[in-house]
């Protein structure tokens, strides 16, 4: 049997109340809030975050492929999945693939993963989906779009969620689109999109699925239905004939339309409460629609506690500044920095050390047992043990999955950056080892010597059209 063997999710820490947006533009903002990725987050980093959540207790070296879905890939040419896989410590001999350009990319990646496992060509495939579409200032999309990610691990042993059947309609219906240069989504007339698109096509996909699988609506315990906003999603659920209590929270009032990630995020939310035997209907929409029928098995009970959707919804900070949001998204022309520009990242140096730097490996000395990082401007490879001074007698030791305690810190107002002050912290890792990292998702006032932190993968800088990613730390909040 092939299916989902683990799941996880990620919702950025910051939530922008719609009322804050409304206030800015002198419009009623409505209730609810949207999740907003930090200034150093993107679909790559959010995929890593969801992946870490999903792989809790699972050896990443057992993963044979990473399928990453997003419509907001940082590069047009450079595979995002490889960066995510590297950070997650998935082996190089993995069949990584990006799924892009369509809001159905997440469910497409799920089906491809399922097929690969079913066919026996891959044993384990991690699917991540992340999105952070940008709404133009003062437009409807600005209220609706939110940021987030989900991850699902497909395998054949201890399957917790079986995918019984699926039905996909592929339509070149352009109710919205972005060309390769567009920063914002373009729309055809709303009523066209609603009447000919969203309120029609998913229903056809679901009808097709149920007919194909010979299942009736009455057999469904939960419906995970993607929607671009709460109102129209509710309308579709009603028109499909599902009672409100069967419809899983589409997260549209707390996260917003997280694009290709949203169907998977809704599914993770449903799985957190699912019981063995439950049948779940998952429906995505975007240039067509994909409907999937899932069945929960006894194995669901053995899946470790994780943050998933429920806890990530609670771990939040209200962003009361619209200006700060604009600044993070590069939507406002800032005063030029009175600082010299950062040195350009070197592709050759980064490639030379990608095996240590990307998954945050240090070493453990075989002689004296000291775990240690080596992070200089020119190298991440240690040769001489900092404790016993023996040479090149190390075993690899990963720090990305360790929590730590803050030993010292400072809030740097001189460094500039998109979201000053830059907080830097020296942290002592549980089990030994120390490193100095930037700290994110923190309130300056809460920082103290002795506070607990965990590692998070983020953008570090952008030079020569390329992003450098590295690990930072953030407060542990559960």
């Amino acid at each position: 049997m092939a299916g989902i063997i683990s799941f996880g999710a990620y919702i950025p820490y910051y939530r922008l109340p719609l009322s804050v947006i409304g206030q800015m533009w002198g419009q009623p903002g409505g209730r609810g809030e949207k999740a907003v990725a930090g200034s150093d987050e993107d679909p790559v980093t959010m995929s890593v975050a969801a992946g870490l959540d999903c792989l809790k207790g699972i050896d990443p070296k057992t993963i044979e492929a990473l399928f990453m879905a997003t419509t907001c890939a940082p590069y047009r040419e450079r595979q995002s999945a490889n960066i995510v896989a590297g950070a997650l410590d998935i082996p190089r001999a993995a069949r990584n693939t990006d799924f892009n350009n369509c809001l159905r990319a997440g469910t497409s990646a799920m089906l491809s993963a399922l097929d690969a496992v079913k066919a026996g060509s891959l044993n384990t495939v991690l699917v991540t989906a992340a999105d952070m579409r940008l709404g133009g200032a003062a437009g409807g999309d600005e209220m609706n779009f939110g940021d987030g990610s989900a991850a699902l691990l497909f395998g054949k042993d201890k399957v917790a969620v079986e995918i019984e059947d699926s039905y996909t309609l592929s339509d070149d219906l352009a109710d919205y689109w972005r060309d390769s240069e567009d920063k914002f989504v373009r729309h055809w007339e709303d009523r066209f999109g609603r009447e000919q698109g969203y309120l029609k096509i998913p229903k056809e996909a679901v009808d097709g699925l149920l007919k194909k699988a010979k299942v009736s609506k009455g057999d469904i315990n939960k419906v995970c239905l993607y929607g671009p906003n709460a109102r129209v999603q509710g309308t579709l659920a009603k028109q499909m004939g599902f009672k409100p209590e069967l419809v899983q929270d589409p997260l549209l009032g707390a996260v917003g339309d997280a694009g290709t990630a949203l169907p998977l995020m809704i599914l993770v939310g449903a799985l957190e409460e699912a019981k063995p035997g439950d049948r779940i209907l998952l429906v995505s929409y975007g240039n067509g629609s994909c409907a999937m029928l899932l069945r929960v098995t006894e194995e669901i009970k053995n899946i470790q506690e994780r943050r998933g959707i429920k806890k990530h919804l609670e771990i939040k900070k209200i962003l009361n500044s619209y200006g700060r949001y604009l600044r993070w998204r590069g939507m406002v022309s800032l005063a030029p920095a009175a600082r010299p520009p950062a040195g350009a990242a070197s592709m050759s140096a980064q490639w030379r050390e990608h095996e240590t730097a990307l998954p945050l490996y240090g070493v453990k000395c075989r002689k004296c047992g000291t775990p240690q990082l080596y992070l200089s401007q020119s190298s991440t490879r240690a040769h001489i043990c900092l404790q016993c001074l023996s040479r090149d007698d190390f075993e690899p030791y990963r720090f990305a999955d360790k929590q730590g305690t803050v030993r010292s810190f400072s809030h740097d107002f001189l460094a500039g950056g998109i979201d000053p002050p830059a907080t830097a912290a020296v942290i002592d890792f549980d089990g030994g080892g120390r490193g100095q990292f930037l700290m994110v998702d923190r309130e300056p006032d809460e920082c103290k010597v002795g506070m607990r932190v965990e590692m998070t993968f983020r953008q570090l800088r952008y030079t020569l059209g390329a992003y450098t990613y590295f690990w930072k730390c953030k407060p542990v909040r559960d």
């Binding site: 950062a342 140096a349 992070l375 809030h411 460094a415 010597v449």
Partner: protein, 402 residues
Amino acid sequence: MPGSIRNRVAILGMGCTRFGERWDASASDLIVDAAYQAFNDAGIGPEEIQAAWVGTSTGSTGMTISEPLRLQYIPVTRVENACATASDAFRNACYAVAAGIYDIVLAIGVDKFKDSGISGLGDGGTPGPSHSMVAESTPPRSFAMLATTYFAKYGLTFEEGKHMIGRVSWKSHENGMRNKNAHFQGKVTMEQILNAPMVAWPLGLFDCCGVSDGCAAAIITTPEIAKARKKDPVFVKALQIAMAPRDGSYNQNFDFLHVEATVRAAEAAYKEAGITNPREQISMAEVHDCFSITEAVTMEDLRFSPRGKVRDDIESGFFDLDGKLPVQVDGGLKCFGHPIGASGLRMLYEMYLQLQGRADELLNPGFPSRQLKNPKLGLTHNLGGAPDGCAIFVGIVGLEGA
């Protein structure tokens, strides 16, 4: 077994430009000014210089000085060791004389920063392509970590800690006011210091030195020549460099309460100079007060104050101009200024003037005397880098019998 430099070389002459935002002067202008002050003070001409060492963090090669000074084909070595640059140029020059290779040499340090268009230094990262997976840091951020940890370890409230480090800067401003060549000569109040904007929490504006333009130079010679040509030459008693393995951010033994390299360099220097109780025996010091907390911690690392107790000495005025052990007599990096590659020789210049009773040559008109009473031994200290990894210099100079 390492040898000792004690009394094996002497200073024949010194010079130092006014430090500050020298919009009027290029690096070459500053070099010629300081070098010729030193030549005149030594009573020699440039043709008597047999070799030279130039410290600079921004220039390149020995031509940094051979070009403006038109030195004629003598050996010149360019030295770079961050904020310990000038002191290391001096140290190498001293060794060449002690080795008997040369009689009269020049050590000179210079930097010209104020044409860069920014306040302070850059991000501290390697310019140009690098691995660049490590976030660039800024100097205030790196040193602020000492304050964060010091306050936490010794149970100081934010206000108590801020007052302690603020008092360090207040004292330097009091000294800098009297010095006509200092970068910052204005009076500041504790209130101003404590209420200044944050630069890197908990360090505010007055906890940070600026960067300056400036140049300082020394002529070094043998004890025989010095005694023949000068009444009371200043002798070198100790020259020590300690280079940290730069592991403070990776090694859990590093406590962010002290700078081990300073302790190592200081103990070696005390041994070299025959000093057992520096708090009693050292008459005065110029230390690396790039940030107020750096000076505070350095007082403990040099054994001027007992570990964890520097606050008592700072608040009681022990390091003030009229205190038992005056520190930053000329205003320090904080007020005299900090052109990285010149600072070590600037510190030495103040020790040199004080030991010869000439401190009031730099007195700002209308201020009380800067001259200390009968100083015997002066200590200089530089910290190049950051607390978690640095090049430390500790040097001691004094009168012949000291």
